[in-house]
C-alpha cells in the first residue's frame, strides 16, 4: 500500500475512534443539539412575535420561523466546535497525542479523525434540529437539488469550523481554555450575523461587521436554498469563506501539532 492509502486508512481509524467516543459519551452531542433547539423555541415562542412584526418589508409574508430556521441550522453547525476543541485539547494534555505522534502514523490522519467526527456529528445534529424546526412550523420550499445544496453547505461549513476548532484545541494550553476559545463561534458570530434579524435592522457599525463576516453569507445561502429563493453570488462567497477558514485552521493546526505538546 502507498503512503496515501495508509493515510486514508488511518484517517478512517481515527474517525471511528471519534464516533466511538461520541456514542460512549453522548452528553456533548446532546448539548450541541439542545443549544440551538432552545434558541429556536425561545425565538419562535417568546421573542419571535415582535421580531416577526418588525421584519416588515425585509421578509414579506412568510412567518418568522422560516426566516429563523436557517440561522438555527447554522448555529447547530457552530455548536459542534466546542466538542472538537475540547476533545483535541484532552487528547493533547493527556499522553495519547504523543503516542500517536511517536508512531509511524500519518500526522494529518490524527487531526483528520477529529474533523471527520465533527462533520458526521453535525449531519446528525442538523437532521434532528431540522426535525424540531419542522415541528414548530418551519415550512421549507427547497427543490431536491436545493436540499443537496443545503447538505453541501452544511458539510462545507462544518468542515471549515472543524479545522478551526482543531487549531483552537491545539493552541490553547488547557481544556478549559479550549472550551472558552470557541465561544465567539458558538454565540458571538451567529448573533452578529443575519441569523436572527436582518442586517438592515442593525446599528451601522454592527451592520458593517455583519455584512463582512463569514456567518452572514452562510446563513443567507442556507436561507435562500431552503426558501427556494435565488442564492446568487452569496453561495460562492459562503464557499470561499469556508475554504479560507478551513485552510487557515488546517495550517494553524498543522504548525501547532508539529510543535508538539511542550
Amino acid at each position: 500500500m502507498t503512503a496515501l492509502t495508509f493515510a486514508a486508512e488511518d484517517s478512517l481509524t481515527m474517525v471511528g475512534r471519534e464516533l466511538k467516543h461520541t456514542i460512549r459519551y453522548p452528553l456533548m452531542l446532546i448539548a450541541s443539539i439542545m443549544t440551538p433547539v432552545v434558541m429556536l423555541l425561545l425565538f419562535v415562542y417568546i421573542l419571535g412575535g415582535p421580531i416577526g412584526h418588525g421584519l416588515g418589508d425585509a421578509w414579506r409574508g412568510a412567518s418568522y420561523v422560516d426566516f429563523l430556521a436557517p440561522g438555527i441550522l447554522m448555529m447547530t453547525v457552530a455548536a459542534g466546535s466546542s466538542t472538537t476543541a475540547i476533545t483535541v485539547s484532552t487528547d493533547m494534555t493527556g499522553g495519547i497525542t504523543d503516542r500517536f505522534r511517536a508512531m509511524a502514523v500519518s500526522r494529518a490522519a490524527v487531526l483528520a479523525g477529529h474533523v471527520g467526527g465533527y462533520v458526521l456529528r453535525t449531519l446528525l445534529t442538523c437532521t434532528v434540529v431540522t426535525g424540531v424546526a419542522l415541528l414548530v412550523g418551519f415550512r421549507p420550499h427547497a427543490s431536491v437539488a436545493g436540499w443537496f445544496a443545503v447538505i453541501g453547505t452544511i458539510v462545507a461549513f462544518s468542515f471549515a469550523l472543524a479545522w478551526l476548532s482543531v487549531a483552537l484545541g491545539l493552541v490553547t494550553k488547557t481544556v478549559a481554555g479550549a472550551n472558552s476559545s470557541t465561544l465567539p463561534i458558538l454565540f458571538l458570530l451567529p448573533f452578529l450575523s443575519s441569523a436572527f434579524v436582518p442586517a438592515s435592522s442593525m446599528p451601522a457599525g454592527v451592520r458593517w461587521f455583519s455584512a463582512h463576516q463569514p456567518f452572514t453569507p452562510v446563513v443567507e445561502t442556507l436561507r435562500g436554498l431552503l426558501t427556494g429563493a435565488p442564492v446568487g453570488h452569496t453561495g460562492y462567497l459562503a464557499l470561499a469563506w469556508c475554504g479560507g477558514i478551513a485552510l487557515t485552521g488546517y495550517l494553524l493546526a498543522r504548525a501547532a501539532f508539529r510543535r508538539g505538546t511542550r
Partner: protein
C-alpha cells in the same frame, strides 16, 4: 550531513548513537551537549534528579521534539532525516499514561493495532496475548478510569508493545507506583530484555537503575556527569566504612586513638572508619575500640548508587556555583 551519515554507517549493533545533543527552552539550557552510545539489547538507564533533562532527552530521541543541535541515529536511522523510519522501530511509554480514557483496555490495544496496519486476526490475537501477559484480561472490557495506577501503566506498556518495537523508551516507568506495581514493572522490563529488546529508561530511583540497567549515565543540569556499569560507578567513590557516633569529645578522642585509620568529625562527634563491612573486620575494629569508649550509635555503610549520585551531582553543583 556527512557526519550524520558516518554515524549511521558505524551503528551496526548500535541502537542509539548521540553526539552533542543540545536543547534550550526559552533561554534555559536543558541539554548542554550530551553524547550517548547504546548497544542493541542493552538496558540503559538515564539517571538524574527532576529537571535534569531526562524527559527532554527521551522526547528528542523518540522524534517528539527536535533538538537544537547535535546528531543522533536511532536504530540505524538518522533522527532528523528519517523520523518515520525511527518511529516504525521504537515504542514510547511516557511519564503520563498515554491511554484513551474513553476506550476499554481491549479497544485501546485494537486501536493501536489498526494504526499499525496489522491484519484483523493478528490484531485480536496480539491484543489478547498482551492482555493476558499483563494480567489485564479481566479488565479488558472496562474503561481505564476503573483501573489502578499499576494497571494503567501496564496497559500503557501493552499498547507500546503492540507493534513489537526493537527499542523501547520508558520515561520514569515506576514513578507514582506502589511497591508491588513497581516490582511487577521491573519483572516486565526483565522479560523484555530476555526477548532481546533494547531499553532506554529514565529514572530518579537509584535502586531501579542499579537493578535493571546494564549501563547507567548520570544526567545533571543537562550534562552527563558519569557513565558506566553500576559496579564501575560504585567503584568511583570511597569504599565501605563504619560510622561511630560518640557521646562526647573525650570519647571521640579515645576512639580516634584506638582506631587511628579513622577520620574524625569534631562537630558531629563522629568517627568514620574504613571497613569492608564484613563480620570479621567489624569484630576486629570493635575489639580494638574496647569497652571503655561510650559509643552512642554504630552504622555500617556500604557504598551504593546513592553515594555515587550525591557525590557526582553535588560536585556538579559546586562547579556551577559562582
Amino acid at each position: 550531513m556527512v557526519r550524520m551519515n558516518a554515524l549511521t554507517e558505524n551503528s551496526t549493533g548500535t541502537a542509539i548513537c548521540v553526539t552533542g545533543l543540545r536543547k534550550t527552552y526559552g533561554g534555559q539550557v536543558v541539554l548542554d551537549g550530551i553524547d550517548l552510545a547504546i548497544g542493541e539489547g542493552e538496558v540503559f538507564a538515564l539517571l538524574g534528579p527532576n529537571g535534569a533533562g531526562k524527559t527532554t532527552t527521551v522526547r528528542i530521541l523518540s522524534t517528539l521534539i527536535p533538538a537544537d543541535a547535535g546528531a543522533a541515529s536511532v536504530m540505524g536511522h538518522d533522527l532528523r532525516g528519517e523520523p518515520g523510519a525511527v518511529r516504525a522501530k521504537i515504542g514510547v511509554t511516557g511519564q503520563f499514561s498515554a491511554v484513551d480514557d474513553m476506550l476499554t483496555g481491549e479497544e485501546n490495544l485494537l486501536l493501536i493495532g489498526r494504526l499499525l496496519h496489522l491484519p484483523a486476526a493478528e490484531r485480536r490475537e496480539r491484543a489478547a496475548w498482551l492482555l493476558d501477559r499483563f494480567e489485564l484480561t479481566e479488565a479488558a472490557k472496562r474503561l481505564p478510569a476503573t483501573y489502578s495506577g499499576g494497571m494503567r501503566r501496564r496497559l500503557d506498556i501493552a499498547m507500546t508493545l503492540m507493534g513489537r518495537p526493537r527499542l523501547i523508551f520508558l520515561d520514569e516507568p515506576t514513578a507514582g507506583l506502589d511497591p508491588r506495581s513497581r516490582h511487577t514493572m521491573w519483572q516486565i522490563v526483565g522479560d523484555l530484555v530476555a526477548d532481546g529488546v533494547t531499553i532506554f529508561l529514565t529514572t530518579q530511583y537509584l535502586e531501579e537503575a542499579d537493578r535493571l540497567a546494564d549501563r547507567i549515565a548520570v544526567l545533571n543540569h543537562g550534562r552527563i556527569v558519569a557513565e558506566g556499569t553500576p559496579a564501575e560507578l560504585k567503584r568511583r567513590i570511597s569504599g565501605a566504612h563504619i560510622l561511630l557516633r560518640l557521646a562526647d569529645s573525650a570519647s571521640l578522642d579515645a576512639a580516634a586513638l584506638a582506631l587511628p585509620e579513622g577520620t574524625r568529625d569534631d562537630e558531629e562527634l563522629v568517627l568514620r572508619v574504613p571497613n569492608d563491612g564484613g563480620i570479621r573486620t567489624l569484630r576486629a575494629a570493635l575489639t580494638r575500640l574496647g569497652d571503655g569508649v561510650a559509643v552512642e550509635d554504630l552504622s555500617i555503610h556500604t557504598p551504593d548508587l546513592d553515594d555515587v549520585f550525591f557525590a557526582l551531582t553535588s560536585d556538579q553543583d559546586k562547579e556551577l556555583a559562582p
